[in-house]
Assembly symmetry: C2
Homo-oligomer: 320 residues x 2
């Protein structure tokens, strides 16, 4: 099974209990779980994310401080995707014996700085050695709060598709690091996008007032936007021209000899927000629309349309 | 630094924010964080625990189903230690490519069965590949609820020290597995104690009505009881006779040629609860008392007393 098939399987195993428990408003399958609060307009939003050495990062690609910051923001992005305000976090660190006290402190300082940036203090966690041959991992769980959580389902035909942040820039940064090429402009912005992303909390709060559905882009736009389509039973159409209207991306792609469109469609790790809304969303720009039907469509710069594969990062894909 | 020194360091890094945030009643350093609820008698208790292959378990020691059960119960034990009622959980799985779909489903079934046993459904999580050379890890975060959370601090001179569950039995089980000796009685109970522990939720709820301080025993009694002493600024005296009043432990220790007292004092993974209380606690038995002063004392069966080292499992100890 690939990653999505495995998640469906896990969801089936766990659904027996989850559906019965009072207070569980959104369970497995969205960006975060949503729990009923004590009064109708207060909800808890709860998410967990793990960043694993040699899977999500390599030590040579970023500083310990960046690792702390990046893991914290990556996890917080799921709160942004639900329109929630961060409350606080727990961090579990699995640390090989070759990671020094100083390195550990640097990771914590990066987490702490990210916590200050989104006003979500670290209130606990777990510290464990990891196995001799395995690497470091950082797991972060967040609680957030909101009045209404914006789920993946809910996009309606006629909605516009709106995006905040960058798409493809972090993937360009990762390619820069993988190829050991010079980090100067225009690639500096790309490397920074990969190393030190920001969870778009304010943008998430803004979209929560109007959006019908939302997702954050961690595994690539095509894959994550397709979640909106599948969950809502609708077709998602993306506009190539709007995806290319990002000077930082186009310059980075050009310097790398890569297709800016491919990076925007399939590159992950940007933690952009993509939402469906009938009205413009402050701080977001239009990148497509929601239609009746199913699947993903790309409208190119000439106005021609073609089906688009929902490919993106899959942890268990047979052929990567 | 050893594990405790590292936790102190992390606590210092994170304390800048945590103290300022409204609604954080207990932060880093207890069994779980405690967050203010919407009214005075409702609190959220929040914990995270990670079980890592080759550190916390080896595949040959337990079934996939047991791994799911065990990781879930180990995490839930921190709720029991605060006197909280479990609400729900998120599970993050980091899975090497050699773990099959069937194995993954078995882990989830073990988690799901444990979830049913303590009425805390899994409402979300994270699924990731782990690095090629590293092993499997299961991270579980729980939310619980309570009126009053029982912290590690609060033990007062004159309190009795009360215990629910077994001490040392799981360690005897782990030794049985490590030595590949026959699992038949009296070692079957020990192996079961290690493989399929139970979070003592009902006992935790019972003690919450009377206890002045509480901790669960995951790293050995001497070490975990010393947390009660340090947090409360008191001395903890343990009674050898009461620690040996456990037929299952004594039989298992004898079959292994091990000291039952050493297993009870320093063996981990039992998830027993140890609490300080002026009055007897239903379902608990007395294993010592709280005195003025500091440190740990053992009163042997002859009534002689000696200082006891707070040694136990330390992930980063220089000499294990």
């Amino acid at each position: 099974m690939n990653e999505e098939q495995r998640i469906v399987m896990l969801s089936r195993v766990f659904s027996a209990q989850a559906g019965e428990e009072a207070g569980i408003e959104v369970g497995i399958g969205d960006d975060a779980a949503v729990l009923a609060g004590s009064h109708a307009r207060s909800r808890l939003v709860w998410t967990i994310d793990e960043q694993i050495e040699e899977v999500h990062f390599r030590r040579e690609y970023l500083s310990w401080h960046d690792l702390g910051w990046r893991s914290f923001m990556a996890a917080a992005s799921d709160l942004a995707a639900m329109g929630a305000e961060p409350w606080c976090a727990l961090c579990a660190l699995a640390v090989p014996l070759d990671v020094t006290d100083t390195a550990l402190e640097e990771i914590a300082l990066g987490q702490s700085e990210a916590a200050a940036a989104i006003q979500a203090p670290v209130v606990g966690g777990n510290l464990s050695r990891s196995s001799p041959k395995s690497g470091l991992s950082v797991t972060t769980t967040f609680l957030g709060r909101c009045e209404v959580a914006i789920e993946r389902r809910g996009a309606r035909p006629g909605d516009g598709l709106w995006m905040a942040g960058h798409l493809g820039l972090a993937a360009a940064g990762l390619k820069t690091l993988e190829r050991h090429v010079d980090h100067r402009a225009p690639l500096a912005a790309a490397v920074a996008a990969w190393r030190t992303p920001r969870a778009l909390i304010a943008e998430g709060r803004a979209m929560a007032a109007v959006a019908s559905a939302a997702v954050d882009v961690s595994d690539g736009l095509a894959r994550d936007a397709s979640h909106l389509g599948t969950a809502g039973g609708v077709c998602i159409a993306l506009h190539e021209a709007s995806l290319l209207a990002d000077d930082a991306l186009v310059a980075a792609a050009s310097a790398l000899g890569e297709s800016a469109l491919d990076l925007a469609l399939h590159g992950g790790d940007d933690y952009a927000l993509v939402v469906a809304s009938t009205v413009p969303v402050p701080g977001f720009r239009c990148i497509g629309e929601v239609r009746e039907g199913s699947g993903l469509i790309l409208r190119n710069v000439d106005g021609d349309e073609s089906a688009l594969e929902a490919k993106g990062y899959d942890h268990f894909a047979r052929s990567p």
